[in-house]
């Protein structure tokens, strides 16, 4: 009897794990194994030792690219916030119908492959594109090129990443009890002071979530900055690509990838200790 019982229990505890098996195998083959390989290459290619890391930390170019990556990620995050916060506010304070419409527009662009969106920006911002044409129309002769600048890559990345910000803030705004706002109003709060003392702090968790998500994704962005950005202001992922594709410097590229990974984990770690990582995805 006892044996039957324990076997039954075993059966039940094993089942969920069995269901997870395909996912575990997938993660092992396509995530853990390559990651270990990258780690290994960073300390073995071209010769064993920490030489690659030394280069990453002392080479002027690499430091500059890391700094530039941080700068771009920060700029993109701030822009996403500036664009996203009012939009999320609009969505959570309009009629359900209009909110649905805006949501649809956002998700539609969200579901379009970001490669497609990147090319779309190339067409729009190109020297023969409609935006340059418009600028010339209003009388500015010989406008500066928009494509392959910090402006174009930032614009495209904000476009791609803003939905993450909007969704995070929107979901928090939606959950704010309107009675809290009423109650603040009955105590004399209005306009700016109502926003500063009540609304903004209540939506802060959404801002934190959105910002971390946008920042972390932006740190590792590859295609968009490579295709749209200025060649003089590379981001880390692009540089890693260069090292491997052009110079076949697998070791150095791997070392940079590891440093980027560690930095990303540190950002997430700080977030986790303040808010809890489980909240990041709502």
């Amino acid at each position: 009897m006892m044996r039957r019982m324990t076997r039954l229990v075993d059966h039940q505890t094993i089942w969920p794990w069995l269901l997870l098996l395909p996912l575990a195998v997938y993660l092992l083959v396509f995530f853990a194994v390559p990651l270990i390989e990258v780690l290994k290459m960073s300390v073995t290619e071209p010769k064993p030792g920490l030489g690659n890391y030394q280069k990453v930390f002392t080479g002027a170019l690499y430091g500059k690219v890391f700094l530039n990556t941080f700068g771009t990620a920060t700029l993109v995050t701030v822009c996403c916030l500036i664009v996203g916060y009012p939009l999320a506010y609009l969505m959570s304070n309009t009629t359900p119908r209009r909110a649905m419409m805006i949501l649809l527009l956002i998700t539609m662009s969200f579901w379009t492959s970001f490669l497609v969106r990147t090319y779309a920006w190339m067409v729009l911002l190109g020297n023969n594109g409609p935006i340059i044409w418009l600028i010339e129309m209003i009388g500015i002769a010989d406008p500066p090129g928009l494509l392959f600048t910090r402006f174009s890559s930032t614009l495209a990345m904000v476009h791609i990443l803003a939905p993450y910000m909007i969704m995070n803030i929107y979901s928090v705004m939606k959950k704010i009890d309107p009675v809290l706002i009423r109650s603040a109003e009955s105590m004399g709060a209005r306009g700016g002071s109502l926003f500063r003392h009540i609304y903004l702090p209540l939506t802060a968790p959404g801002i934190a979530n959105g910002a971390v998500l946008v920042f972390v994704i932006c740190l590792g962005f590859y295609v968009t900055p490579v295709l749209l950005g200025s060649p003089r202001e590379q981001m880390v992922a692009g540089l890693i690509g260069n090292q491997i594709e052009q110079f076949l410097a697998f070791g150095l590229g791997s070392a940079m990838a590891v440093v980027l990974l560690v930095i990303t984990l540190i950002v997430l770690g700080i977030y986790h200790s303040r808010f809890g990582l489980d909240k990041l995805w709502g």
């Binding site: 109650s183 109003e185 004399g188």
Partner: protein, 356 residues
């Protein structure tokens, strides 16, 4: 003589739904008035009109003779306690209480001192630095009360503030709110759907039903002299017995269940001979006896159920297939058995007439 708060001819419609109809109310300075009524009867709507979160479709609201029309909620100087407390989760208890002062440009040092004093008054000394989620329901309630009072409002509105608390805590908070209200002398409107709460706390009760004020009066007046069937039924336990007026001038009515009845003198409602009405007798005013008593009116019943509560018992009997409820002292119930036939008796003053 004008009163402190005055609502005259208030109507409120949403589309073609009438939420409030012809509400007139006068509240004296320092008075504690309770809005009592079932859910959906218009209590919250009335509070929101007073607070300025909605505007009446018709009618006026004045405080001390000055109209509130066109005044934003921010400028009305009214303290509100909402049902779910509505404490700001990102502020400590003291910061919550300081907030209305902060909005009135009181400096932080002075404001926090006053917040602490107010927390002291509501019995929360030492909890200033706790966040709302670190406080129990009753404690959150006290913070909300302190926050609504700290800026010395002209009026305090409480919308079912005790609804979420368990029974013991409720009773404790009823006494606390009453004590604080008395001490500060603030004019208060308290909303509840619990009649015992209304009875125990109020100077006057305003009974709402379907967007109208059914009756307004002192708790005991409303209890002993309800004007409508609704009020008689909603407040306290009642036996409602159908009857017809036979002689309005001499207070006589006739009922299948009770026979010929003389009812207590009626004030307010005009009655006609032949009018169909309900007779109301409170269960505790009926007496049970084995014989007819010479000095009281009586009728025979058969005991169906006896429910013991220790200090008293509820005896449910039937007469002419109408249920009659009688409250008897706990000591008297031992001689009664289910199935016994006996008599209920009453005096003229125990019976009153209500119309629909």
């Amino acid at each position: 003589m004008s009163s402190y708060l005055q609502l005259s001819g208030i109507n409120k419609t949403y589309g073609n739904f009438t939420a409030l109809e012809n509400v007139d109310l006068e509240v004296e300075k320092g008075e504690f008035v309770t809005f009592l009524g079932p859910s959906g009867s218009g209590k919250t709507t009335t509070l929101m009109l007073i607070a300025g979160f909605a505007t009446p479709t018709r009618g006026t609201i004045d405080i001390e003779g000055a109209s509130l029309a066109g005044l934003d909620p921010q400028d009305r100087n009214i303290g509100i306690v909402f049902q779910n407390y509505a404490l700001f989760p990102h502020k400590t208890a003291a910061e919550n209480v300081y907030f209305p002062l902060q909005m009135r440009d009181v400096k932080r040092l002075e404001g926090m001192r006053r917040a602490d004093e107010m927390l002291d008054l509501v019995g929360l000394a030492g909890f200033s630095h706790r966040y709302p989620k670190e406080l129990s329901g009753g404690q959150q309630q006290r913070v909300a009360l302190a926050r609504a009072l700290v800026f010395e409002p002209d009026l305090l509105l409480l919308d079912e503030p005790l609804g979420a608390l368990d029974k013991n805590l409720r009773e404790q908070m009823q006494i606390e709110i009453k004590r604080i209200q008395k001490k500060l002398g603030v004019t208060t409107i308290f909303v509840t759907h619990d009649q015992t709460e209304a009875m125990s706390m109020s100077d006057r009760i305003c009974v709402f039903s379907n967007g109208k004020i059914e009756q307004l009066g002192k708790p005991l007046d409303i209890y002993h002299r309800p004007k409508t069937k609704f009020v008689a039924d909603f407040i306290g336990e009642s036996n409602l017995i159908p009857a017809r007026i036979t002689d309005a001038a001499n207070c006589k009515a006739q009922s299948n269940v009770l026979g010929d009845v003389t009812y207590g003198t009626q004030s307010g409602t005009e009655l006609r001979d032949g009018q169909e009405v309900s007779l109301v007798i409170r269960p505790e005013h009926l007496k049970l006896s084995s014989k007819r008593l010479a000095d009281r009116m009586s009728a025979g019943i058969e005991i169906e159920t006896i429910v013991n509560y220790g200090d008293n018992a509820l005896v449910i009997g039937t007469s002419e297939s109408q249920q009659i409820r009688v409250r008897v002292p706990g000591a008297d119930v031992v001689i009664l058995n289910e199935g016994d036939k006996c008599f209920i008796s009453w005096t003229q003053d125990d019976v009153f007439v209500v119309t629909d």
